[in-house]
């Protein structure tokens, strides 16, 4: 087992260390940090916006780029929320699978949604599962070849593209929400008002927060692994755990600038985003909205996400994992000295930003049929 894992990791390192992939990690981290830092925009939009750019790339490079964008956007979202108190994003192995196992896996994927729906949301979650299955029946029936719900349209013969659906339901709604709620993202931010004076962490501060970082890293990762949980839950649970563990006098500071209260949810957030790749890459079940969009990207590349992915496409599987190590180093190098400059980019006005986001969505949707038909 260990030998296989070490071989896989070596494959991942070899694939990641190709100059184009290093460039993709760097670009992904930069673009993700930038987009994630814009108020009202989260990792889903960041990943969706970059999808058209990945069409021309090799699947491994494309996925490395999208993964970089994802954790970059999480990092950028944290920076945004810390600097201006406006959240940039919402959260801030089996090798011998038989058809019965796949069936069980499918049932798990469909029911996990309702299991994590929370009190009062089970009916709603199940109804949305049924709606999703209804939409999947559009197109040619794979068993009999009969056309279902196509209304004579040639475009509907192949059914509704998953990526289009994921972008429409997760990414486009984020953009429309900004239009509908003018107050959700203010017109622009004055970077001078942010007041960045000292960005260095002192020894005393580090000593205070490092146990919180360690605890929240583990908790966030395991929360992220749960299908349907995502980074938001990781963030909230880490914050809750840290508040419960803190002494009473420290608890009073939570929500008023406590370093532990700040470090815990942001660490949990970042760890959960990495954890959400586990169900995506091993089972083909997206752990969050962003990984659902990435699942669509994988399908568009012609890769079947699921338990066989790391046998069939070990380069993509391991490259995504190994690139995260490199990406996190890049994020530190990029973000620590560049935060003051990134913050100035927050001044992009809403009336320019929103049409650009809608343009990327429309463009990606128009390009998608072209690329998937040729792949």
């Amino acid at each position: 087992m260990w030998e296989g894992m070490i071989n896989g990791m070596m494959t991942g390192i070899t694939t990641t260390m190709i100059p184009i992939n290093i460039a993709m990690v760097l670009f992904g981290c930069f673009a993700g940090s930038f987009i994630g830092m814009l108020p009202g925009l989260g990792p889903i939009t960041a990943v969706a916006l970059l999808i058209p750019v990945t069409y021309a790339l090799d699947p491994a490079s494309g996925m490395v780029l999208l993964a970089g964008v994802y954790y970059g956007a999480i990092f950028g979202g944290s920076t945004c929320s810390i600097l201006i108190n406006a959240p940039g994003e919402a959260a801030t192995v089996a090798t011998s699978f038989q058809s019965a196992d796949y069936f069980a896996l499918m049932i798990l994927g469909l029911t996990a949604v309702s299991a994590f729906a929370g009190h009062g949301g089970v009916l709603k979650a199940l109804l949305m599962v049924v709606l999703g299955l209804m939409l999947s029946t559009v197109g040619t029936d794979q068993t009999s070849g009969t056309q279902r719900f196509t209304f004579g349209s040639l475009e509907l013969l192949d059914g509704i593209e998953f990526l289009l659906l994921a972008m429409a339901t997760f990414a486009l709604t984020e953009a429309l929400f900004i239009i509908l709620n003018k107050d959700a993202a203010s017109d622009s931010f004055n970077p001078k008002s942010i007041g960045i004076s000292n960005l260095k962490v002192t020894k005393k501060e580090f000593k205070l927060i490092y146990p919180s970082i360690l605890r929240s890293s583990f908790l966030g990762f395991f929360i992220g692994v749960l299908p349907g949980a995502g980074a938001t839950l990781g963030s909230f649970m880490s914050y809750g755990m840290e508040r419960n563990l803190a002494p009473p006098e420290e608890q009073k500071k939570f929500g008023k600038g406590s370093l532990r209260g700040l470090a815990a949810p942001e660490t949990g957030n970042n760890a959960a985003s990495s954890g959400s790749f586990v169900p995506l890459l091993t089972l083909g079940i997206p752990g969050s909205g962003t990984t659902a969009v990435m699942l669509g990207a994988l399908i568009a590349y012609g890769i079947e996400p699921g338990p066989r992915m790391f046998i069939d496409r070990p380069d993509v599987f391991w490259a995504v994992i190994m690139s995260m190590y490199l990406g996190n180093v890049f994020l530190l190098i990029l973000n620590l000295p560049l935060i003051p400059y990134f913050a100035r980019l927050l001044a992009i006005p809403r009336n320019l930003m929103v049409p650009i986001i809608l343009f990327f969505h429309s463009w990606a949707s128009t390009l998608l049929p072209l690329t998937t038909s040729t792949s």
């Binding site: 199940l126 209804m134 056309q147 279902r148 049409p355 343009f359 969505h361």
Partner: protein, 159 residues
């Protein structure tokens, strides 16, 4: 009416319409003799959708005081702007084949900026042209993705 009840009603109507449309799925003579046909799954989904949405409609709302009504949820929202922008996205998608990526995108962006209140022509033009031409350059020249020119250019004899 609570927001989720409206959603349940919409889903109930959708499930009924879906079920009725499922009866129109063509079946061959041989398929009609089988137990499991192309209509079976849609029928099952329509029934499940109907039952679940009906239950959501009739069962009491969980924590009703914490749930907003449709009017509360949508108060102050800029519906006209949102609908206009969505319509523009549709027009953009439909015209891209005729006008080509560069022209259609620049027009879409300029119109979008205008709808959202931007009036500085220089800033609008600079942003739209730079973004679109820059992306076209990256996609077609750097990444090698073929982006077809608009059909209008062939009709006008320019290409």
């Amino acid at each position: 009416m609570a927001w989720e009840k409206v959603g349940a009603l919409v889903m109930l109507l959708f499930s009924i319409a879906y079920g009725l449309l499922a009866t129109k799925i063509p079946l061959s003579f041989l398929a009609q003799q089988e137990t499991f046909t192309s209509r079976t799954m849609p029928y099952a989904l329509a029934i499940m959708g109907g039952i679940l949405s009906f239950l959501m409609l009739v069962l009491p709302t969980v924590n009703p005081s914490g749930k907003k009504t449709l009017a509360q949820e949508t108060r102050g929202m800029e519906w006209s702007t949102a609908i206009l922008l969505v319509a523009m996205m549709l027009v953009y998608g439909l015209t891209m084949k005729w006008l080509g990526f560069i022209l259609a995108s620049i027009i879409f962006l300029l119109a979008g900026f205008y709808v959202l209140g931007e009036r500085r022509i220089q800033r609008m033009l600079f942003t739209a042209v730079l973004l679109v031409v820059g992306l076209w350059g990256i996609m077609s020249m750097l990444l090698g993705v073929y982006i077809a020119p608009g059909e209008i250019f062939y009709h006008l004899g320019i290409l």
